[in-house]
């Protein structure tokens, strides 16, 4: 069978044998088990997949690390649901998903409190253990580690609209008839829905009455009809803001404004409203949580990577990786904070971060999301441009 002469007949025979062997091999997962000691697959928001972050880890652990960037939380969770728990070892999404969806659905597994809680104690005070979003609903298991976070409401060009005025008006700015055709809508659909709720004086993360739903529908229509442009690309939105196509855009914050600010455009600024319908608060903040996927064939490197990104130099790299720049919870420790330059701190609006956090509530699950999404998408389709 292994002689080198290949005739047409034995080629077919060999192909058949090899195909059968390959098929049999795929049914024996244990064979692959040993190989995963040096392998790690990360599914994350952009930044963690940067070679600046991954290469030192690859060298230190002699590991083969594959990282793929995700473009939306629901998309990422969909892929785990569709069976990709077999593929990934770590998943990095925003705070509510782990506790509310992924852990109850068995998509992620808890990490060691003993090992990781001491690291959490070095974070900024509000993220110290037991941190609500990192725990399961029974407050027993630790479901992941926080790192990047940021206030997320809207962005203005301060040459056109002053910071003070924008903070005072809040999301009502986008209902002002004078703003019609002068703002964009960054279509991160789930965030748009929360922000439209706030514009309609509704708490987005509570159960809603019929009247509130109707009011939401009306505000959604008004905001879509008044928007100059819609895009899900933050670079394009910043460009429109810088070039004067628009004066502000709804749904945005440090995450979207920072690339423009770091480029010297300090007139582009994320705004957190001073007040609003969420127990008096008017802004929302997101916190990323990196969790270990419930992979049937887990990689031991998943926990190591979680610990690795807590190191001061790596934290800084995560904060200032490619694409967008964001504060990290590790800035609670002096040596991490000291590694940021004045320009870098200015890009992530460090001067107002504490105040903005105080005026914001944490990103959460909207119990009426599905019904609101129908109203939202109808308003988008029926938009009178």
């Amino acid at each position: 069978m292994f002689n080198n002469k290949i005739s047409r007949r034995n080629f077919l025979q060999q192909t058949g044998v090899w195909a059968a062997a390959a098929a049999a091999g795929s049914m024996l997962p244990n064979i692959a088990h040993a190989a995963r000691d040096k392998e790690l697959n990360i599914y994350c928001w952009e930044g963690y997949n940067s070679d600046d972050v991954l290469d030192p880890f690859r060298r230190e652990f002699d590991a083969k690390v594959r990282a793929e960037g995700l473009t939306s939380d629901p998309d990422a969770v969909n892929r785990l649901r569709a069976g990709e728990t077999k593929v990934w070892d770590l998943i990095n999404v925003n705070n509510p998903w782990a506790r509310e969806m992924m852990y109850p659905e068995g998509l992620i597994r808890p990490i060691s409190r003993e090992r990781f809680e001491p690291m959490m104690k070095k974070m900024m005070p509000q993220f110290h253990p037991p941190y609500e979003w990192a725990m399961d609903k029974d407050k027993k298991e630790l479901l992941g580690m926080t790192q990047r976070f940021g206030p997320f409401s809207f962005v203005v060009n301060t040459d056109k609209i002053s910071r003070g005025m924008a903070e005072d008006q809040g999301f009502k700015l986008f209902l002002d008839p004078a703003m019609k055709g002068k703002y964009g809508l960054l279509t991160y659909d789930n965030w748009n829905i929360y922000h439209m709720c706030i514009a309609a004086d509704i708490h987005p993360f509570k159960k809603h009455s019929k009247e509130e739903m109707a009011k939401f529908g009306e505000v959604a229509k008004q905001i879509f009809n008044g928007a100059k442009n819609l895009t899900d690309d933050l670079v394009q939105m910043n460009l429109a803001l810088i070039n004067g196509e628009i004066d502000a855009y709804m749904t945005g914050g440090t995450y979207t404004a920072s690339p423009a600010r770091f480029d010297g455009q300090n007139n582009i600024r994320g705004i957190t409203p001073k007040s609003g319908p969420m127990d008096g608060k008017g802004g929302i903040v997101w916190i990323e949580l990196t969790s270990v996927v419930n992979n049937p064939d887990p990689s031991p490197l998943a926990d190591e990577f979680l610990a690795y990104v807590q190191r001061p130099d790596v934290s800084k790299k995560v904060a200032f990786a490619e694409g967008t720049y964001n504060p990290v919870t590790q800035m609670g420790s002096e040596d991490v904070l000291a590694s940021f330059s004045k320009e870098e701190l200015d890009a992530i609006q460090w001067d107002s971060l504490e105040e903005e956090m105080a005026n914001s509530v944490d990103y959460d699950i909207n119990p009426d999301y599905a019904e609101m999404y129908d109203l939202y998408s109808a308003a988008k389709r029926e938009r009178e441009g």
Binding site: S72, P74, D75, N78, R81, A82, G184, T187, D189, N190, K228, N229, L230, T231, D232, D233, Q236, L239, A240, N243, G244, E245, A370, Y373, D374, S377, A378, K380, R381, E382, R383, G385
Partner: protein, 290 residues
Amino acid sequence: MQGQANRFLSWLRQPGVLNAVPASLFLLIGFAGPLLMVFGYSFMPPKTFSLFQEPTLANYSSVVSDSYYISFFWSLTLAAATVVILFFICYPIAYGMAKVFGKWANLITVLIAVPLLISENIRLFGWVLVLLKNGILDGSLQAVFGFSASGMLYTVPAIVFGLVYVYLPFMLFPLVIGISMIPDTLKEAASDLGASRWEVFREVELPLAMPGIMIGGILTFILSLGSLAESKILGGQTVVMIADDIESAFTFAQNWPKGSVLSVLLIALSGTIVILLFRRIDLDRIIGRR
């Protein structure tokens, strides 16, 4: 019964059938399989993620009662407009390439094909920089002539422009093949028999080039119908295309069954159009088998 089985076996042993087995299996698994899954999902209860539940028509009725007709309308209208505009732009170029330019035609082919190597999103984003307020075009006009040309971006014409720009090669090359199939002798004969230039074009050229026109038309129509990037990047989603609705349903709405219904309807629509049009052309003749 035995005879039938034997006939089937001897049919199966034909070289043509045997050779087609790997490709057919590949198509069945890689092409028909996912489509069947989408079809299956369209009958599952809304906002669920499993294929093994009691089938329902709820998604179809909600899609019909919602305002999705607007997205279908825009996709169909913009696709049709793109095809018509592309025909008028490409026909003269194709004629030149097939009959007039000689060896220069190769250079033009390369020039038109090279941009295809660059991602569509990047090329469209390049146009954003050109059309943006205070961008390359507007800024240059202001500096040189003192008037502004802002307001071109985020409009329906900007979307059509993007579609025409991106899909031009898909109309042009089939047209070149179509036109090069017209024997010059036939046109000469028509002229000798007293036909005017217009009559030669209408009675001889156009019918003979029709297979190329049809293929170019179908290709560009189907591609435009499923397009998304042009309306997102150049149009600022001033209108929502059906492909955008499908994407939203699968992602932010977390409603795979609804996304599947929209996909099934779009496939059915484009499939019907292709089948109706392909009845009128003879593929064998175009690839020169007859």
